[in-house]
């Protein structure tokens, strides 16, 4: 089973509640480290301007490039649901390595400040999933624009869309996400 995210870009107002809820739940004080991040894309010119936001975390790819690139075997995929897991003790750190960051097409792997900083990223709130709760970003969204579940079920529940402003689907890594775009 592969668990993934659904994101309804047409609903997202760029309020950042998901990003800060993630930060609070996982106690990430340093704002240079962003497990989930909301970014805006503005296109067109006045008055025909278009604005969309995208909220992305680790996409828990079916074929993760980070794992393939890691020389220390510090990045794993949980067998139970395909979510990613980082072993900070094994990770070689930002300065010594950083191969995962270079490999990820979505700029997901995060390193805090300091030469020995270890890689960290979205855990899909595994602690919460085990309690039967949704990831904190999903539970936080005031627009109910995020969902999380088995990809098979998400594909049944939502029409699959691969592309949206601020995102392009990587056929090599197969990110576990379904996005409903704001603009065609």
């Amino acid at each position: 089973m592969q668990r993934g995210f659904y994101f309804d870009q047409s609903r997202c107002t760029g309020c950042y509640a998901c990003e800060i809820a993630c930060r609070d739940w996982h106690d990430i004080q340093d704002t240079s480290v962003r497990w989930r991040r909301v970014t805006a894309t503005e296109q067109g010119s006045y008055p025909d301007v278009q604005l969309s936001y995208i909220s992305l975390s680790c996409l828990h790819c079916a074929h993760p490039a980070c794992r393939a690139a890691c020389p220390a075997d510090a990045i794993h995929k949980r067998e139970s649901d395909g979510s990613m897991l980082v072993d900070a003790d094994t990770c070689l750190g930002a300065d010594a390595c950083g191969a995962c960051r270079a490999a990820c097409p979505y700029n997901v792997p995060q390193f805090g400040p300091g030469p020995d900083a270890k890689m960290q990223m979205c855990t899909m709130c595994h602690d919460r999933l085990e309690e039967g709760k949704s990831p904190v970003c999903v539970a936080a969204c005031p627009m109910r624009a995020l969902d999380c579940g088995a990809m098979e079920e998400l594909q049944k529940k939502y029409a699959e869309c691969g592309a949206a402003r601020g995102f392009s689907y990587s056929p090599q890594t197969c990110p576990s996400i379904i996005i409903k775009p704001r603009y065609e």
């Binding site: 047409s10 609903r11 997202c12 107002t13 760029g14 309020c15 950042y16 509640a17 990003e19 800060i20 809820a21 930060r23 609070d24 739940w25 106690d27 004080q29 704002t31 909301v38 503005e42 067109g44 010119s45 006045y46 008055p47 301007v49 278009q50 604005l51 969309s52 709760k133 904190v136 539970a139 936080a140 969204c141 005031p142 627009m143 109910r144 704001r182």
Partner: protein, 724 residues
């Protein structure tokens, strides 16, 4: 607090801030420390919190929380203080207050309080109000920086502030006009943005009329109609012209439920003043193409039910009350009043749940010895005139020569207009006391700063201040941080020092229990649990079958509480004021510092003040998690930027005769040419030359109000230049 070591307890609470929402926070506490904050995960509609609530842990444990009472050691505004004991601080405050009362009289003491706590039962400015009343009186302030134009218009037109619907009614509308209204950022009633998204998905047509392409416009609107700030009234009147000349208005509704339509019609058609208010007339004022004005008028007249939604922004302007009066008139002309999916375009209070008189009204009623109502109104000073009153006193026509300011629940240097003049005014006083949580721009002008706790450190009760099917017990979840105390506890300690015996007779729990008991009789018929049960459950939801809507009982004998019993398009109460600038029918009046003046003078750009999604007014500006989400910028259209050699991200100077602000430019097609915008609430930081480096928009605003008392924060002209 009494939980066993190591165990985690989850408490339900909310926020007491002055935003449009009232959401649920679930606070995790272990060993007396807040560890995490979640939001409502119960039955839908869940009351999910915004980013500000989610970041509250960083506010509670902020580095810049004031730890002890402070006494000024440097110049006012410099921010140099020394810590002192509570004993010494309270003694100093009492000594100076007794001296000033004896030498200058009670009226020389100005009490400046605002909306630091909104909708709370116990902890608000009214505790201090009561202390100062028992002290023999003071000079209060009046007005609202948010929506005085709307309050005034709603009372005059409908005879009530309860002229709104609950946000779930958005799902019943076929057409929604978001007029200067951006709930995605302001959270105008919890869940409003969610209902707008769902309405759009259901096929509702949503149109944004706004100088900016807001987050709400981008997410919900099918069309965006940019309009010059301060000209909305002209567009609404021209829409009325289309409805009248094309016979599109709801004649039966107008004849049955309104009074004064004929006078309005004479004005619109130009019978009374020789100017026909056609779409072409409005196009030249508003910058909106006349065909678009006509089309919107036809759409609004033909699509029912329809909501014209606004809260305050267009009315925060030179003649802002006219905007709200015109909007309500169009709601009546389209018959969108008293029906599901409609909207009266009055003040947004929904007739449901606890009434406004529950809550802070209860403590207000326990204030013996206050000035009589009439005398208080006469002596009160409008919030835009505080600095003028302090600097000119009796010579300027005010009631006293003010020597002292007592400031709580407010950051007026930052949030009321003309910050440089505010700094000058507070610097001129003999004595300034401020209750605060962090060292705000205002607190820097105090002689004594008394540290106040947050809502997570004391018990209270809160209602959604615009009405709602719920209320929340604001539970004390941790002990007061550092040496902070509640405003009420400070009053309890000051009272005996001021010779007041009667203040400290009840503790918080007794007050709350008594207020709740009384509040149980102040609902729209809903039953409320007893105090202990409510305190235990934290969130009380009232059963709901349908949205709550205003004026549901149109068939009643007198559905509108106005002198005529009808919707007063011609307002007899306004007419009685006999003020040429406050006409009794909705009227377009050319504003000062409006588009016409922009074309002629040295300050060619219209400046508007918006809300920022990462602050609640000036609250939380220094919270790191929020601050780093987006830079604080001035928005400028690429055309205006190119003409000034400004590129995106450049450091620019925004200025006029009142002051100058240094800030980063955001060059964007999301704002119309000729208009620039800044989010209000960034902290005022004047440098040695008096130039604000904090990006406080109120440095630039003129300290005056509309004829009815609206705060004109969207009436301002500036120029912008590139900084070397």
């Amino acid at each position: 607090m009494s939980d066993p070591a190591g165990s985690e307890t989850v408490h339900i609470t909310s926020c007491p801030h002055d935003c449009g929402g009232r959401c649920v926070l679930k606070v995790h506490v272990r060993d007396g420390v807040v560890r995490r904050i979640e939001t409502d995960d119960g039955e839908e509609p869940q009351l999910r919190a915004c980013v500000r609530g989610r970041a509250y842990r960083q506010r509670l444990y902020a580095e810049d929380r004031i730890r002890t009472p402070l006494r000024r050691t440097g110049k006012r505004g410099q921010g140099a203080f020394e810590p002192v004991s509570w004993e010494a601080a309270l003694d100093a405050v009492a000594e100076r207050m007794l001296d000033i009362r004896q030498r200058c009289g009670n009226e020389a003491i100005m009490y400046i309080a605002y909306s630091g706590n909104t909708g709370t039962f116990l902890h608000s400015q009214l505790g201090v109000f009561r202390l100062l009343t028992l002290f023999g009186g003071f000079t209060p302030c009046w007005g609202s920086a948010s929506f005085w134009g709307s309050l005034f218009s709603s009372e005059a037109t409908y005879g009530t502030l309860a002229a709104g619907h609950t946000p779930d009614d958005i799902l019943n509308a076929k057409l929604i006009l978001m007029w200067g209204w951006n709930p995605a950022e302001t959270v105008q009633k919890t869940n409003t943005a969610w209902y707008l998204a769902r309405a759009r998905e259901k096929g509702a047509n949503i149109v944004a009329i706004d100088p900016r392409f807001t987050d709400s416009a981008a997410a919900f609107a099918r069309d965006w109609i940019p309009i010059r700030p301060g000209t909305d009234t002209a567009m609404l009147i021209a829409m009325a012209h289309v409805m009248i000349t094309e016979n599109l208005y709801d004649r039966a509704f107008v004849e049955t439920y309104t009074s004064g339509f004929e006078q309005f019609k004479d004005y619109v058609l130009g019978t009374s003043d020789g100017t026909s208010k056609t779409p072409a007339w409005a196009a030249s004022i508003t910058g909106v193409d006349e065909k678009r004005i006509s089309a919107l008028a036809r759409l609004y007249a033909a699509t029912k039910p329809a909501k014209l939604l606004t809260l305050g922004a267009p009315g925060r302007s030179a003649f802002g009350e006219q905007f709200h009066r015109a909007a309500a008139t169009l709601a009546a002309m389209t018959g969108n009043i008293g029906i599901y999916g409609g909207e009266p375009a009055g003040f947004g209070l929904a007739p449901v749940g606890l009434k406004p008189e529950a809550g802070t009204g209860l403590i207000a009623r326990r204030m013996p010895g206050n000035l009589p109502e009439g005398a208080r109104q006469r002596k009160a000073i409008h919030i835009t005139k505080l600095w003028d009153a302090i600097l000119t006193g009796k010579g300027g026509g005010y009631g006293a020569d003010y020597t002292m300011a007592y400031i709580t629940n407010a950051n007026p240097v930052n949030q009321f207009m003309n910050s440089n003049r505010a700094a000058e005014a507070l610097s001129s006083l003999e004595f300034v006391v401020v209750h605060e949580q962090v060292l705000t721009a205002t607190a820097r002008y105090a002689d004594i700063v008394l540290p106040v706790n947050t809502h997570l450190e004391r018990n209270d009760i809160i209602r959604p201040w615009q009405g709602g099917h719920y209320c929340v017990y604001l539970k004390k979840v941790v002990e007061s941080q550092h040496e902070s105390k509640s405003d009420l506890d400070i009053c309890r300690l000051l009272a005996p020092r001021l010779g007041i015996d009667a203040y400290g007779d009840m503790n918080d729990e007794d007050w709350l229990r008594e207020f709740w008991q009384e509040a149980r009789g102040m609902t729209h018929g809903e039953e409320l649990p007893d105090y202990d049960a409510f305190k235990q459950m934290g969130l009380h939801r009232m059963p709901r079958q349908a949205p709550a809507i205003a004026f549901e009982h149109l068939a009643a004998e007198k559905p509108f509480n106005t002198p005529s019993g009808k919707i007063e398009i011609y307002s007899s109460t306004i007419a009685a004021r006999n003020d040429a600038e406050l006409p009794p029918i909705p009227t377009w009046i050319e504003p000062w510092e409006g588009p016409q003046a922009a074309g002629a003078g040295e300050y060619p750009l219209q400046l508007i003040s918006t809300h920022s999604k990462r602050r609640i007014h000036s609250n939380m500006h220094t919270v790191g998690w929020l601050r780093d989400l987006e830079p604080h910028t001035v928005w400028i259209n690429p055309l205006d930027a190119a003409a000034r050699g400004i590129v995106n991200g450049a450091r620019v100077r925004v200025f006029n005769d009142r002051g100058a602000v240094l800030i980063e430019a955001r060059v964007t097609g999301r704002i119309m040419p000729g208009v620039v915008s800044m989010g209000q609430g960034a902290w005022y930081q004047p440098d040695e030359n008096g130039v604000d480096r904090g990006g406080c928009v109120n440095v630039l605003l003129k300290d005056t109000h509309s004829p009815a008392g609206a705060f004109c924060s969207n009436t301002c002209l500036v120029e912008i230049t590139k900084e070397p």
